[in-house]
Symmetry: C2
């Protein structure tokens, strides 16, 4: 196990009706003038936005609004949000929505006190050390942004999708009411499932030894997702299933499952090019990339793949040939994601073979550079993995 | 799943050599005058105390010392610590040791700004809302106090052992270096193992439905303990085993494994009487009480006991008679704890049958009152469970 620090100071408020406590927590964490930041129409249609506003009004907390955060949130709205916050003297950002609204809110929060271009944090590996406090009201179990220190934004100039991070953008509170996810269509629910499971996979496949406790925590999240996801797809108002998925989504990405170990994240890197180019859902892109990546790197550590096959997918260990078990685990993953309606290849996703060279180039690795750590991937590897996903 | 809040803001610093960063974190969390609080001679003999002092001196942070926190820490030292902190203008308490030193430090921290008797928090179910900040350097994986909001103190007047809690006494930082546990004798290591596993059991046995994610997280900790504990007993300097156990001990008790569900805690209540009366280690007492409690309450939810037997102990499910599986799981627990050298009954612990009525009485339940929630226990149940442990 490697040395690490772990810091997850977010105050989580979980359960039915908890969105009505928004004003209480805004005040508790110092907010006196709020920007409510959200995405499209669903938070309006559902009445959630009105309830949040009513909660703030009842507590005499002034607020302004900025909607329009879209999946794969864009830089343009971030610039707009930063200007708005500065002009209006906003000191607290309340994101209402899924990972997109939250990631966009985090970018705005980091940009307000920063003298330069907020994109510096995303393009230059600069850690975010100062930001307005962000609170969240989550409506989609997927990105884990409600408990994470990271944010991913797509810059409209070149459609570059890049991440930034720092403890300063960890939400000070996050309100998680599983009921708010009842109205999600099966496709969005499934995309979220793939996203959550992918956050675990990125941490699970590691070369660090002696990480049993984090292995087991990773497996705990995956086992939960395997049991609960089909229930939520079948019956969108299954509170128990929605609740388990929502909390698993947070645990999958606040880094509890990843401490003390080298993490990989190359599948996320490859996926970002898919969603930047085709504007597909991040989870759908991950469902395409992960099985391909797994097949490509499996031989690097067959026993680790056999371990997940046995412990998570319930495969029987083939002691004569562990590779069979490892492959069986990948097959089970594909079958599981397929059963939820997720795309598993370029064709099902609507991605095109001829764009592969562009995507490889767009990742931006120079000659001799690699990404990932479980198996370092160079441009030629990345191209092969994209082709395995055709 | 029940509504819940989860808040674990402690900054964890984990790994080799991390105790040398103590001064950095004291300053980061606002400490300008420190009380170093510790237990017996081991932190002196090992040189740890000197290293911590050197770290503070190198950063020009003034400090005073108070040693003497013993297992089942006592009220007398807490009163002494409170007086000392007030007199010396201490604004930060750094606990160096195991759960006893940390629990004692938390009690002092709560007592300093409180006008009344600190024991009020322990005797009257008052939540602690104000306290000096506490940092910890952990030397024993067991109590989980390094990440918890609770503290247990024994009052010398009547040897009452009682707990108190509140977010204000959660450590602001905790330094966890597994190397600091290398010198623990097997007996103390084993006591810690029982304590950690017991913290999970108290949360696992619940009547709350739809808690798959927390079930799986509980099982993750238990599976880790089963794999790693024998390694640490056999080779005390097995860093990987010590590291996995140390982090599992934190996860077992910062309440991640317990959110959204009714918890029981009656075995802890019964054990507190054992350790208060005989001054035995808390973990040893838990190893005696838990199997007895399990046998007494098992029939209330045989399937839950069968689930843990299959998922954690690897038993085969007896579909014709799940009770056999449930019993097999309890037997495996006893065998496992026995293999680590833990006592499993009153005789092995040195407790006496004739003291049972006194212990039952000392728990303090009035006529018609109960403790626990999985199965409510009245005085007559408690007596029977103590007798099952003979």
């Amino acid at each position: 196990m490697d040395n690490f620090t772990f810091y997850s100071p977010t105050y989580f408020v979980f359960g039915r009706g908890t969105e009505n406590e928004a004003a209480h927590y805004v005040t508790r964490f110092g907010g006196t003038k709020v920007l409510i930041h959200y995405g499209g129409g669903s938070v309006k249609r559902s009445g959630l936005l009105d309830r949040v506003k009513a909660s703030l009004e009842a507590s005499d907390i002034p607020y302004i609004e900025l909607g329009g955060a879209m999946p794969n949130p864009r830089s343009g709205l971030v610039y707009e949000g930063i200007d708005l916050c500065r002009k209006e003297g906003v000191d607290f950002i309340l994101a209402v929505g899924g990972g997109s609204a939250i990631d966009s809110a985090k970018a705005i929060a980091a940009g307000v006190p920063y003298d330069g271009d907020f994109w510096d944090f995303y393009s230059k590996d600069m850690v975010i050390t100062e930001a307005l406090p962000v609170g969240t009201i989550l409506t989609l179990a997927a990105a884990g942004s409600e408990g994470s220190s990271s944010s991913v934004i797509t810059h409209e100039d070149g459609m570059l999708k890049r991440g930034a991070s720092g403890d300063a953008i960890r939400p000070v509170f996050s309100i998680l009411n599983p009921e708010l996810t009842f109205t999600l269509p099966p496709e969005q629910t499934a995309n979220g499932v793939a996203d959550i499971m992918a956050h675990v996979f990125e941490r699970y496949f590691t070369n660090t030894k002696d990480v049993e406790v984090t292995d087991r925590l990773c497996e705990a999240v995956l086992l939960t997702m395997i049991k609960e996801s089909p229930k939520a797809i079948k019956n969108p108002e299954d509170y128990g299933a929605r609740a388990n998925i929502m909390w698993a989504g947070m645990v999958a990405h606040n880094n509890l499952c990843g401490v003390g170990r080298e993490q990989d994240w190359s599948s996320h890197g490859m996926e970002h090019e898919l969603s930047a180019l085709y504007d597909v859902a991040h989870g759908a892109g991950l469902a395409v990339m992960f099985p391909a990546w797994m097949k490509y790197v499996m031989k690097h550590d067959v026993n680790r793949f056999a371990q997940i096959a046995v412990r998570v997918w319930g495969c029987h260990m083939d002691y004569d040939n562990p590779e069979n078990t490892a492959l069986e685990g990948i097959k089970r993953l594909e079958e599981f994601w397929g059963s939820l309606g997720l795309p598993l290849n370029f064709r099902e996703l609507g991605a095109k073979e001829e764009d592969i060279p562009f995507m490889v180039k767009n990742i931006g690795l120079k000659e001799g550079e690699h990404m990932g750590s479980f198996v370092p991937l160079y441009n030629e590897d990345i191209e092969k993995i994209y082709r395995l996903a055709l």
